[in-house]
Symmetry: C2
Subunit: 158 residues, 2 copies
DNA sequence: TTTTCTGCAAACGATTTGCATACAC
DNA sequence: GTGTATGCAAATCGTTTGCAGAAAA
């Protein structure tokens, strides 16, 4: 099944935590589980996670959510992203690095964020490294414009 | 001289403002002038601008700075950027669109932000538009890694 | 037991807003 | 004169932190 990358992360959580001197707690497990179970919902904010917890009658506090998201990002289990909407967003870091590199298309009209799964930046990165001596380890690419839905409707607001 | 793009913006400020129903004020002129006069200092935050104003014994308030940066960005005179350091940053929007498209190389070691002046994304953008129907009007590309200085020193911290 | 973790509430920093006054047009 | 802009202070929002009690190792 195609979700194996993510189930792996959940099962291996205790191991990754203790490797780095952290403890396994039900809160951390539950927060990570939310990302696994809502994998269709990309890039969730701390508030998003917190409100799902409240729906589930969980007693986990907002500060704990923030601390867990920080920790899981440091461990490489989540990836923090910033879409300029005033809050940090997170998504599961798939184990496969070729999947990890995708781009975001941000619609200026409906604010939707679409993922574009191909990378195609290798050539540009190689060129930049050669020309500037800057060694690239990661990138973040956002394209702003109008999604096909909004273009079809023709009402392009701001 | 090569600064003509920017001097143009300063002279044309009144025109661009009144075109959109805004008024010319000494505060707006002074704030824009700071970007023109400090063009070597890229991407300044509202606090950066405010502290330069205080050095110049200006009475302009911080709220006015925020409002002016917003307005100048809406008019396309400034461009707002976000480097994930917790505050918005702005730089002059050069009139020449081929200059406007540059990338940022962010050093994970010393936090320096380097500009890479070539774009080279046309092919990728054309491909994305064709494949997804998303019409791209702008982009923001950040590369994270290690700058040549830090690589030479060899001490790569976090 | 010992150290880390949690929840709460208070603190924080960047940004925004309400309002009375001052200014551009 | 009319409506917009300013400066100030208070409000807001996402996020962080201090602390005492709770729980993992």
């Amino acid at each position: 099944m195609s979700e194996n990358h993510q189930l792996f992360d959940l099962k291996d959580l205790r191991g990754k935590l203790s490797e780095s001197g952290y403890k396994m707690t039900p809160q951390r497990k539950e927060i990570l589980k939310i990302f696994v179970e809502h994998s269709e919902r990309h890039h969730m904010s701390a508030e998003d996670v917190y409100s799902i917890l409240r729906e589930n009658d969980s007693e986990i506090g907002l500060a704990t959510v923030y601390r867990a998201l920080d920790l899981l990002s440091d461990l490489g289990i989540l990836v923090r992203m910033d879409f300029g909407d005033g809050c940090a967003r997170y998504e599961l870091n798939t184990a496969d690095p070729t999947i990890h590199h995708h781009h975001h298309l941000i619609c200026l009209n409906c604010k939707k964020v679409i993922e574009f799964e191909e990378d195609l930046l290798e050539m540009l990165e190689a060129y930049i490294e050669k020309k500037s001596g800057f060694q690239i380890v990661n990138h973040e690419v956002k394209f702003f414009g109008y999604c096909s839905d909004c273009r079809a409707k023709g009402e392009l607001n701001p």
